[in-house]
Symmetry: D2
Subunit: 261 residues, 4 copies
Amino acid sequence: MNLEPQLRIDLNSDVGESFGPWKMGADADVMRSITSANVACGFHAGDPGVMRATVRLAREAGVSVGAHPGFPDLPGFGRREMKMSTKDVEDMVLYQIGALAAIALAEGVRLTHVKAHGALYNMAVRDRALADSIARAVKTFDRSLILFALPASELLLAGERAGLQIASEGFADRAYDADGSLAPRSDPGSVIEDPAEVVRRSLKMVQEGRVVARNGTELRFHVDTLCTHGDTPGAGELTRLLLEGLRHEGVSVAPLAAIPS
Amino acid sequence: MNLEPQLRIDLNSDVGESFGPWKMGADADVMRSITSANVACGFHAGDPGVMRATVRLAREAGVSVGAHPGFPDLPGFGRREMKMSTKDVEDMVLYQIGALAAIALAEGVRLTHVKAHGALYNMAVRDRALADSIARAVKTFDRSLILFALPASELLLAGERAGLQIASEGFADRAYDADGSLAPRSDPGSVIEDPAEVVRRSLKMVQEGRVVARNGTELRFHVDTLCTHGDTPGAGELTRLLLEGLRHEGVSVAPLAAIPS
Amino acid sequence: MNLEPQLRIDLNSDVGESFGPWKMGADADVMRSITSANVACGFHAGDPGVMRATVRLAREAGVSVGAHPGFPDLPGFGRREMKMSTKDVEDMVLYQIGALAAIALAEGVRLTHVKAHGALYNMAVRDRALADSIARAVKTFDRSLILFALPASELLLAGERAGLQIASEGFADRAYDADGSLAPRSDPGSVIEDPAEVVRRSLKMVQEGRVVARNGTELRFHVDTLCTHGDTPGAGELTRLLLEGLRHEGVSVAPLAAIPS
Amino acid sequence: MNLEPQLRIDLNSDVGESFGPWKMGADADVMRSITSANVACGFHAGDPGVMRATVRLAREAGVSVGAHPGFPDLPGFGRREMKMSTKDVEDMVLYQIGALAAIALAEGVRLTHVKAHGALYNMAVRDRALADSIARAVKTFDRSLILFALPASELLLAGERAGLQIASEGFADRAYDADGSLAPRSDPGSVIEDPAEVVRRSLKMVQEGRVVARNGTELRFHVDTLCTHGDTPGAGELTRLLLEGLRHEGVSVAPLAAIPS
């Protein structure tokens, strides 16, 4: 891991979060400004038809497609912690990656990465056994998939132990706590909505490898990819401004891997 | 299609139909006597953990593993007709095949075939567009997968149009109507439970390519694979007697394809 | 049933169709202009929290609350036909009515009516046994509940056989076929979006008991309640214009029953 | 609460835990020996048809019927902790009680009690806010319902605060920890299967108000109702032996409340 400033970054966003008749996000807009799309796999959001339409949008926009597996909890959108066994998590993650990979085949697309969603991601940041079960599922399916993970998290370490490629992830629009974890969504101010502030924080992460936590502590970590959220109003505009802000400062915005043919 | 008697047959059964805490079937027993296992994929039965345990059982028994996709209807076990668009069916079948294929990878197993379940199978027997959407999903995922289908059905024709290998399927323990379709499960006598009768019918199908429908009409068709049901009490014993009965008459019981490594 | 023109009408709309994190409709807006709210019960849309918030909105707006039971099919929004047994339909409708009634208690509200949703409604228009099972569930729960039904439908007849109060329902924004059924949603033009046209058709139904079907046939039926759809953009505005249009012509817009205390 | 020995006890069991095509438990057998039936409500087990059949069995056996609400987690059988908001828990419990009460109406049965299931019960033992939300739901629906709760638990205290009648519950076939909580199911020996031991422990609880925890500590508490589990093989026989053992010692086995007409 490299703590030096850098001039290249991947932009990722969670997409494909509609379900049945219900729409969420502005995927077509967001796709214009990101380089990696994390596609929900039907457990916390998404359904086979939504998944296919989302992969098609990504392909048309030249965006890399990854799986975004989550807990089996549609009404809670995968944001509620569930105490699942590590064995169940491993099988469930495999199931979701495989389902998306098959749908992607129909659009001539191969997956490039995996990013756990919501409570599954946050629990795997702290829980080594859970993190290992996610890494194991990814490795079983395709060891060339890149695992997205919070810097210095158990999830990142699990990916390294499994011999996977890791993308260290910064959150452009989320507040951090002093231990490097994300401030809970339920806290006021935990989701940053001011585009200028989002761009400023992103540049600091990319150029300096630094971000200031809520209590003023300065955190240092390297980021390979920046996440912005696609399910908020104005997500398309925010992502566009972030892309422009980064480019204006000479940062190259590019996917982590060449898109496999 | 070949209407001559034959001396080789595959035996298939629907397995992996437990769900969460609920057990169904006698999979370990049934696996000892079949050559192809159709594994439920979580929509009408099965869950990621059940799917994995079932694939492991099949691998240990040297049984070929196929996907058994069904309608998204757990309480109805996929046996209730649903009016889904053909597009939704195609995406849903792809999703389920992909999910099982990923789980199977964890056990070092590759899929060999696909058999639609319950109402999806029965509707595809009659509905050309639906049948085409299933065949399209199979072909997209892996054109070397064998599609199981009722003789002379729209599903069989769809598989041929798609250029897929087809296994013409006979039902050892189900009554037929004069048009070659299966008598509805709700009719008394539609599921044959007497093992001697099951063996007798099976031999007639395999050796002579004939079966007698409920109204006395003699149907003629070639069968590549015979289905017995694994969710009834005594399924293990019935399947064992069928295997013995076939072998006793000199019929070779063998999978349709070599199990891919 | 009275085929004479009338000067009093109930306005109903399907509401509470959000689910988990997904929003649908403009319930708060629509509630300002209707007199009866049909609240989804968690099977095709809605969840316990959405149901409660919707009942509260209705109470605050002085709108009567009814149950809107549907098929167990969230991804298909209850609009896909499912072949369920009449026994299963009866138990499922009872379950949904009871669940909503309990939630409504927490807001001090009692239910006044029941309207089946989507494919369940449309199938019950034609299928006597299905219609009877819905009427039986309503009668079991509370024989003072009003059953909403298409004029001259099996559902209306089933309600009469069960001794229930019936509200004969007209659809302000849907095209009719010559047999009095609604044109399928998949047909272009089946949902009428021009507010002036919606008001014109509604007045004709209320004042003259007449509506012109797609093929030009004039249908005659009495209407007690008019439905507008709450899940389309501009639903709040459309409903407001309809309310004003009716009042401007001297039609009294009022709920079917006094709201029980 | 009375810590003196007593000579009267209610016997309760969780029933109605089948789902769709999957059977669980030996409800008809168990019903012969219990006085209170806790019926699953469709979220962790049960479906409308299973609920109705179970209420009918209870009515025929003269057994009191209560609601057994759980987390929305069929594959995990409601035994996995979920972090739901207290508001969501309240609405979800109301929903489930109401659904069962409506189904029960069709069998002419009124509910007498509520017992939370699995992880919901265990979390409410420790979590005051969660316990209050359950008690609030029960009180809203019908303040004459009896709330079942572990002695000295937050759930029992919440019921008291809400002014509900409480049934202090002992577990005949589960090991206790020294703090009065149940040993986790995942621990070997946590479920007691020897009928003689189950009877012995039950008598000690009923006659002396005492039970010995796993570490040898003697716990003292009053019990109004004893739970045996209906989902284990031999549950019918175990419950019968318990009933006989209690009666042989002169303990009166009777429901907590007269069954409302």
